[in-house]
Symmetry: D3
Subunit: 330 residues, 6 copies
Amino acid sequence: MKKIVTIGEVMLRLSPPGNQRFFQTHSFDVEFGGSEANVGAALAYWGMHVAHITAFPDHEIGWAAAGQLRKNGIDTRFIPHIPGRMGVYYLEQGAMQRSSQVIYDRAGSAFANFDGSKLDWDSILDGVDWVHWSGITPALSQHCADLTLTALKKANEKGIKVSGDLNYRSNLWQFGKAPHEIMPALMELTHVIIAGTRDFKQCLNEDYKSFTEVRNMAFDRYPKLEYIVKTDRISHSSSNNTISASLYSKKKTYSSRSYELTHIVDRVGTGDAFGGGLIYGLLHLGPKDAIEFAMAAGAIKHSVPGDILLCSLQEVQELAAGEGGGKIKR
Amino acid sequence: MKKIVTIGEVMLRLSPPGNQRFFQTHSFDVEFGGSEANVGAALAYWGMHVAHITAFPDHEIGWAAAGQLRKNGIDTRFIPHIPGRMGVYYLEQGAMQRSSQVIYDRAGSAFANFDGSKLDWDSILDGVDWVHWSGITPALSQHCADLTLTALKKANEKGIKVSGDLNYRSNLWQFGKAPHEIMPALMELTHVIIAGTRDFKQCLNEDYKSFTEVRNMAFDRYPKLEYIVKTDRISHSSSNNTISASLYSKKKTYSSRSYELTHIVDRVGTGDAFGGGLIYGLLHLGPKDAIEFAMAAGAIKHSVPGDILLCSLQEVQELAAGEGGGKIKR
Amino acid sequence: MKKIVTIGEVMLRLSPPGNQRFFQTHSFDVEFGGSEANVGAALAYWGMHVAHITAFPDHEIGWAAAGQLRKNGIDTRFIPHIPGRMGVYYLEQGAMQRSSQVIYDRAGSAFANFDGSKLDWDSILDGVDWVHWSGITPALSQHCADLTLTALKKANEKGIKVSGDLNYRSNLWQFGKAPHEIMPALMELTHVIIAGTRDFKQCLNEDYKSFTEVRNMAFDRYPKLEYIVKTDRISHSSSNNTISASLYSKKKTYSSRSYELTHIVDRVGTGDAFGGGLIYGLLHLGPKDAIEFAMAAGAIKHSVPGDILLCSLQEVQELAAGEGGGKIKR
Amino acid sequence: MKKIVTIGEVMLRLSPPGNQRFFQTHSFDVEFGGSEANVGAALAYWGMHVAHITAFPDHEIGWAAAGQLRKNGIDTRFIPHIPGRMGVYYLEQGAMQRSSQVIYDRAGSAFANFDGSKLDWDSILDGVDWVHWSGITPALSQHCADLTLTALKKANEKGIKVSGDLNYRSNLWQFGKAPHEIMPALMELTHVIIAGTRDFKQCLNEDYKSFTEVRNMAFDRYPKLEYIVKTDRISHSSSNNTISASLYSKKKTYSSRSYELTHIVDRVGTGDAFGGGLIYGLLHLGPKDAIEFAMAAGAIKHSVPGDILLCSLQEVQELAAGEGGGKIKR
Amino acid sequence: MKKIVTIGEVMLRLSPPGNQRFFQTHSFDVEFGGSEANVGAALAYWGMHVAHITAFPDHEIGWAAAGQLRKNGIDTRFIPHIPGRMGVYYLEQGAMQRSSQVIYDRAGSAFANFDGSKLDWDSILDGVDWVHWSGITPALSQHCADLTLTALKKANEKGIKVSGDLNYRSNLWQFGKAPHEIMPALMELTHVIIAGTRDFKQCLNEDYKSFTEVRNMAFDRYPKLEYIVKTDRISHSSSNNTISASLYSKKKTYSSRSYELTHIVDRVGTGDAFGGGLIYGLLHLGPKDAIEFAMAAGAIKHSVPGDILLCSLQEVQELAAGEGGGKIKR
Amino acid sequence: MKKIVTIGEVMLRLSPPGNQRFFQTHSFDVEFGGSEANVGAALAYWGMHVAHITAFPDHEIGWAAAGQLRKNGIDTRFIPHIPGRMGVYYLEQGAMQRSSQVIYDRAGSAFANFDGSKLDWDSILDGVDWVHWSGITPALSQHCADLTLTALKKANEKGIKVSGDLNYRSNLWQFGKAPHEIMPALMELTHVIIAGTRDFKQCLNEDYKSFTEVRNMAFDRYPKLEYIVKTDRISHSSSNNTISASLYSKKKTYSSRSYELTHIVDRVGTGDAFGGGLIYGLLHLGPKDAIEFAMAAGAIKHSVPGDILLCSLQEVQELAAGEGGGKIKR
Ligand SMILES: [Ca+2]
Ligand SMILES: [Ca+2]
Ligand SMILES: [Ca+2]
Ligand SMILES: [Ca+2]
Ligand SMILES: [Ca+2]
Ligand SMILES: [Ca+2]
Ligand SMILES: [Ca+2]
Ligand SMILES: [Ca+2]
Ligand SMILES: [Ca+2]
Ligand SMILES: [Ca+2]
Ligand SMILES: [Ca+2]
Ligand SMILES: [Ca+2]
Ligand code: NI
Ligand code: NI
Ligand code: NI
Ligand code: NI
Ligand code: NI
Ligand code: NI
Ligand code: NI
Ligand code: NI
Ligand code: NI
Ligand code: NI
Ligand code: NI
Ligand code: NI
Ligand code: NI
Ligand code: NI
Ligand code: NI
Ligand code: NI
Ligand code: NI
Ligand code: NI
């Protein structure tokens, strides 16, 4: 069984039930989620060995967060419980022409303040096949940027493949550095980059006219880079999207089928499900099947409440193979 | 900030959760709503100063009704708590080919029996820019018809604009008068009438072959009338409607874009959201932008549970401007 | 009022609320259902006199099951409470491209072990117009197969019409007999068979190239057979199906309109709703109207949570007549 | 099995979940209840044949009310569905030093307006052993008073025992008659009267210094009277009561044990559970055991949510026998 | 009607339903509360005119907080919506021998960072009879300490009575000042101090051997001081407390009755309910009746879920008068 | 950190919310529990390394069961997922004088049919300090009895301490053996036996007049036996119990304080919490402190919903030290 390590913050997710707005709710559904741990959870549900690196508050809600990762099959042995607050994100599910809204309340969290310099990366990376990071982590604090860089250096030293989801977020990067001061060093150590044109522009503080231009630049500049992966989404409304994805090597392009997604249940975490599917695919399948598997994982996540893709390998495989008729399975 | 007064009954709304039928439910979701207060609540959510005129029972459920209006930003200082029952409406949300059902249980409510003759209209209308009424109120009782007429006379005396939603309901008008004995006097005092051909026919007890015929008659007969406003809705199913609206002055017609509404959450109160949008639009925008804003308000209400449009000015403005892609807002 | 008897197991249905998966739920919604009792409940809701034959455990959950049948208008006087367990089925509602899942846990239930040989069929069938069975019951145990055969013999002796839904389920038939050892004798005693080509193949252990071939064989082989009824369903996704149905007599074919079903609420029990509609139709209407009524019943069931069609005669009639616009009924 | 007929209104009961107040709730738990039907439901749960006489609105909520009676084992065949509203009572559960509150909204209900003069009492009372009424019904309307009197005359003609719970409620009796104009004729036809001193005073418009005085008067004045039954309750708080009861024949007094009731779940319907227990007891046991069984039924009801005693014969018998240790039953 | 102004932070309260622990919950009940606003809400529920001074985030959850204050009858016109986060407190309800737990996450809230120097105290205090503050506010930040001092100076200038609940919390006071550097100046401007010996010790950084010593010191040192008020609570368990209170003037002591509180529903906010009752009492009653009313308000709050005392004047008066029998009110 | 292995079945626990009866519920709260895993979960919550040995069905509900163990901190790596059903127990929470009821539906579960002969006990027991079993497991099937015996032999070979909770259940032992044919061999290999007089009688099929007689026999007959532990419980009602416990060595008796438990939340699993506390105590404390810690763990479990003691070491220690005042912890 493949071993994967994921790195990043896990937040408490608070969302009004059903289609209620924040203004009218009297309760919040409780989930825990974060982009990189969501990737890990999808992989763990498929039987991979996944360990996640983060830090949690040393109180009962921090214990609950760790417990939820464990339930999802993630190895939490490397996660310290330290003083600090729990990062929170409030999520209001959109519907129809009304957008979903996220209110982040993550500043000053235990993980953002976590000095990860004493993590034992030799133990963490022992026997590991893949490391996954995202552009959210280095945007949180200098500590977090350092932690990411250390992890990627260690992984490259050990010959472990690295994937990174650039995931540029304009409301982060509050700690005094700009993305282009941090991200290039991380991208150099990454073999599979998930990103669109805008992500590259923001992370490099450079301008590009097209994705083709980006692709040429990236494969030129980063010799370790094997694949760039890009998803395309048309949002007709909060309830109805069309999505597809492509995998680019230096020479070739592999494109998935396109999915018409109506009756969307929960759009959050669909990119992470795609990321988990991509890692699974690249570890087990050829590039064409990998991008098809990844897109099927991302598509079916839209039907599952919460941040996490809770779908079996067989369910994703069937959808990737074109079977999505929604018949009752008995 | 503009000041608006709305007048009408507010009922306790009891609805089974989700898609359940009355026959199978074990709980009711509790909301409070009524056409005119719904209009007021939309305006209050956008920061207008709104006072509502009604009467509530003098018991804890009547207090809760007033509390809910206050939460929605409505000034309740003119609302008396008097003996009598709380009007109720039971709402079963339809889905697919199954219609929504409303069972009214409003006869004999505190408001229907309310002798409003001692309301201090000079205080109520002090500094007010707009008064809104609907055809439901005069249909409840002679007291209610009198109250409406008094309000409209006072408003006209003070040069306050008046809008009225004719809103003909065949199951009301039980108190001994027919609509055409009451409504014409109210229509004469109204500057903006929201109504379709059927509403005019029923309220005037006259026959019209087309809306054009209605429009000509109305502008001829009511010299104060500035606009007639009409919405058009095609109900493909309880979950899927197409809507648009037009604003008619004596000389010109302004039509909104048409919305394809799939995955409908709650259709109740969408006409009231439109009405609130219309008043906001006519107070702040030109006629073309007003009808576009009104229709966007009506459209986006279909995504919000309950009677009330809980959407910000910015959300409605973006939809009116053609942005409705349902992307997650972070 | 017509009298109908239905025969079969009723299970406890446990389903996570909303769109949750089994892995993430913390509660189950509780319903009771079973194919034949679902047929009976639809008929009882329309005012027919319906008695159901089954057996329940002699504990509080068995009493609750009987209570729920009574609530739905079914006469439970012939149902014994005996030692044994309650059959269970776990239902996870699908959404979008994700299928619904059923986990059956019905082996060894009170009904499967029920020795029905002492049932007083003369009392049960007194004044009865119609008996309904399905292929699930004889698949449970030799006792259940015997009980079905006895019921059909008695019904035929008394000149009572019999309908049977072949409903082949590959995960049943565990008690040592194959379908073709049991089903032919039951089909001989049945006047209306609901089945598709696959059901006939499996029940008879014979091969057919087309439904036309099946139809010719069946009317040849079973002289009592008056109608074969077949539904056609295209599953675009768990949330979107297209359905229609046809009624075949020896000479003629009557086809219903086709329904485009989007925003599906609960697909379970839709075939049973169709079956109830068919019995009602054949008892009260001509064959063309009967198949139209049956298909409307099956279609509108997709909007009702639970196993049971809780829609009035008028609602089904309106949909069968082509009115399905989803307007609010006040 | 004994046959019992109960007569009276059944209301929709709406209560905030848990300990919430009306002012703060966002949902109501839905139950159906009414004093006499509650008595009947307790008896039906013990296997008696119980038919209830009332009238329900002819809409889906009225059908749900009838369905709930059927679930509880009550024969609803004599209940007409007629135009009119559903009587409602809002219940806020008290706790600690805070009292429970009931807001009645029952005026003008279908039952209050029901002209019962065409009820077929010969069918209703065929084979019946016991008829139960309460002082609530004649207090609702002249129609209801007439219906009660007719029922009691018919029962006495047929030699059926009659019990009546005087249950004086000061907020009823709005239809123009005073209790003493109606109640004496009903009391004359009643063999078992459940009442305290205050009930007798109010129903007879007479003054009594003590229960002994009442008892002497009653046995003197009503020759058919066999038993007077009185409960004694000390309310320490909403969560903690002490109760006991006594059964008086002309000559003898039988007193139950006293129960210390802490951790009260739902006090509503406990008098009705007592009444059901009394009828069961007098039909099956001697007077000493009957009052002990009745008081156990009333006591254990405090632990069951809703209006209805859902406890088995065995559970009540064990408590009546002094076993109430609350051990887990496996 | 008396006018009262309260000052302080209002937090989002998140608590698992029922008796669940943080570790096991999947949803949070949502309330808003804060000591001083809780005091104000109790007074508003009794019909007083109450305005609250605080600051909220300028997003939908901040709007919901303001809406909830309005629902509770509080005038929110002076509350700015500014950038910043919403203060949160997580509450796990204890039961039996297990304590309730509060996890504060309030650092860096909009209110803590609020520069209140531009508040228009002349408008805020226009016609006001009473101002209430607590020791929590000056403990949050220098801004908050300044705001409190300004408010108290202005109130004293205008001859408005001031009450203060010292409410020492060791986990606050993180901004660089110790209590004794801030509190004495506030206590000098306060006419009614609610505090026990420990509060005085901590706020003054002085040692006292007994409450008598504290009392003598306080009346000596603070010439404006009219009353010290102290509650006494014995916690047998989370579900069972005994409470009483005393009001001390320079010369006299007035003690309330003692309440045995079993079956506690929600202990949070009971001190604030007491504070609201005290202000009401001192504004309307003599000292003996005031302390009795205050203690009744504090006692009955234990039965109401949430931070706020939602009990009518009549309910508190009846309990203060010794009527607490928990009978059902119809 | 100590390492513990627990062995036994884990069932799906289905219970109506709150105080509802099975007959009236419309949903079940979902938990997973089983005596031995409950012991393990308490220990894992305190930071011990705990692995549990059982078998689960190979479907999504079986995966959820394993996930829940992981959330609770239990190592699930040795648990196979095999064909078979999930054992179920239905739990109706009692209240007041009404008993809790358990309906077991565990026959034929995956674990009962599990052939554990290929478990790798050398891996399982590597570095382990303690093994815990209960009398439920050998009562399920010959396979389960064999599995238990093998585990105990291996543990004794490796010098690992063994505790066993005799836990006699009359409704088990259906597989053809009587307890005394199986239990003595297991008791011989056990160092700490939790049992009362009745358990010894049933497991040995012998009669004893007193616990003293049992104690003498046991220490005589089982040379490895170090402690017998016995709890004493008086059930005043489902809501109110008194408990205490004693630990007996050959020579000495250590008795815990007695707890008065009112307002009981969930009595299920309290014996298992006691067992977990006992193992913790005997591994870390002397016998007197061990029995005090164990009883505190058992007592505080009554306040936690579900099967599992979710209380921190500190909470149990404080209660064991006599601090149980229920003050709010901030
Ligand atoms: Ca949600
Ligand atoms: Ca969720
Ligand atoms: Ca609803
Ligand atoms: Ca609603
Ligand atoms: Ca469901
Ligand atoms: Ca359901
Ligand atoms: Ca309730
Ligand atoms: Ca209830
Ligand atoms: Ca709560
Ligand atoms: Ca709450
Ligand atoms: Ca429960
Ligand atoms: Ca539970
Ligand atoms: Ni609320
Ligand atoms: Ni709620
Ligand atoms: Ni119910
Ligand atoms: Ni419910
Ligand atoms: Ni509920
Ligand atoms: Ni829920
Ligand atoms: Ni859970
Ligand atoms: Ni839950
Ligand atoms: Ni829940
Ligand atoms: Ni709930
Ligand atoms: Ni609400
Ligand atoms: Ni709610
Ligand atoms: Ni809710
Ligand atoms: Ni969850
Ligand atoms: Ni929930
Ligand atoms: Ni139900
Ligand atoms: Ni429910
Ligand atoms: Ni619920």
